[in-house]
């Protein structure tokens, strides 16, 4: 079964083509790495896949993006969050709550998960990302790597079928990169579908397929 299908996708900003007739198919359980130089349209591709283009980011757009056979444009906000989770590059602009617990609970509250189930999922995510000791800490007090792990926990709490990573390691130090890479390896082994973009080869060891853009 196909998790993500991109058909003849073209995106341009103010007449400047970033992607032209790009097609891609990602199967369920696959971990695909998209590699390319800075500015070649990697992030744009992810933004289009998760529906931020053209909903939030204005761009000229043609082609189709299907998530498990459904057009991404036709997914509601809640459905989209349950199907797709994305970790962006900069952890600073992805954390906006007072504590790690609140951060993980934020998405769950939005999709109206009952309190008990929420508590269970928060517990699981803290354990999965080794952040149990920081449950009530402020995100401001964490290192870059820890922050990105919190973002990952917050995204995974929604149990998305597909995980998208937009240069998620690029702003981390070596220790942070190693820790996050290990988390991602575990997710891949569990069979989570992943689409990662990166401008270097840091995520190559996790990928089951590499696509050069």
């Amino acid at each position: 079964m196909t998790a993500i299908e991109v058909k003849n996708l073209s995106v341009s900003y103010d007449g400047y083509d970033v992607l032209r007739n790009f097609s891609l198919s990602v199967g369920v359980g696959e971990a695909v790495l998209i590699r390319g130089l800075s500015g070649c349209g990697k992030s744009t591709l992810l933004h289009a896949i998760c529906g931020l283009i053209p909903d939030v980011i204005e761009a000229e757009y043609s082609g189709e993006v299907l998530i498990f056979g459904t057009l991404v444009k036709s997914l509601s906000v809640a459905e989209r969050a349950k199907q797709l989770g994305i970790v962006f590059q900069n952890p600073e602009t992805q954390l906006f709550c007072d504590s790690i617990e609140d951060e993980i609970a934020f998405g769950l509250e939005n999709i109206c998960i009952p309190h008990d189930e929420m508590a269970q999922r928060i517990e699981q995510m803290l354990k999965l990302t080794n952040m149990e000791n920081f449950r009530f800490a402020s995100p401001k007090a964490l290192s870059g790597g820890q922050k990105q792990r919190v973002v990952l926990a917050a995204v995974l709490a929604l149990d998305p079928k597909v995980l998208l990573l937009d240069e998620a390691l690029s702003q981390l130090d070596r220790r942070g990169k190693d820790a996050l890479r290990e988390q991602l390896r575990l997710l891949r082994n569990e069979g989570r579908t992943m689409l990662m973009v990166d401008h270097d080869d840091e995520l190559m060891s996790i990928a089951s397929r590499i696509v050069n853009l």
Binding site: F88, G107, N110, I111, C112, H115
Partner: protein, 245 residues
Amino acid sequence: MKKPDPRIIFALVLVLSSFAVIIREDLKLMAGLMLMSILCALAIGVDFRKMFRRLKRLLQLLLVVSILRSIFAPSGTILLESWGIALLTVGGIEMGALVLLRFGLFLTSGAMLTCYPVRMLIQGMVQIKMPYEIAYMISVGVRFIPQLAEELKDSLIALQLRGVVIEDLKLRKKLSLYTYLLLPVVVSSMQNAKELAMSMDMRAFRAYQSRTSFFKLMLCPSDIVILCVISAFAVFMSVVLIMGV
């Protein structure tokens, strides 16, 4: 000591600031209200020394406004006169003091809210039936103000490292420097805000009309007592103002 529920503080702030606007001429009443708000703020844990340090310039400005008000709104006994024009009068001083107390009340009320974590304030707003989008909008806005200040500070440090001594610049040059800095700082803050919005959007923000809450505020008996006291105070003040006691 346990802090009262933030909803109680919302009620208190609403009562205090409403009366600060309603009271027009009664200096004694305003002074009493100010005293009460200071006592409440101290009980909640407002650090007045820190507040004064932060708002020193604003307080100086308020003092100047009060003095000007005292000079330009003369009434009552003349205390200072020049060429037959009353410069300082008892009524003028009273009006100036009223302005100072009114702004002081607003500042103290605002300071009470800063004693609570943002999450508690948001939850308080949500539980008094304010739409959660607005509550989050306020919280994100509040969070971005220090970030904007931080970015401006970083840009200034970067300039200083390139040999520009800002303190030595003349006012005109200093102003033009700030004009140049403002645009990139605002653009960068807007970019951050956009990224934050994307992240919130992908975590299903505004997916439904309402949302569940992992963290909930519960009113305890002492909160109910405080709320009754605030209500009684509001009624008492209204009676005093209406009857003109």
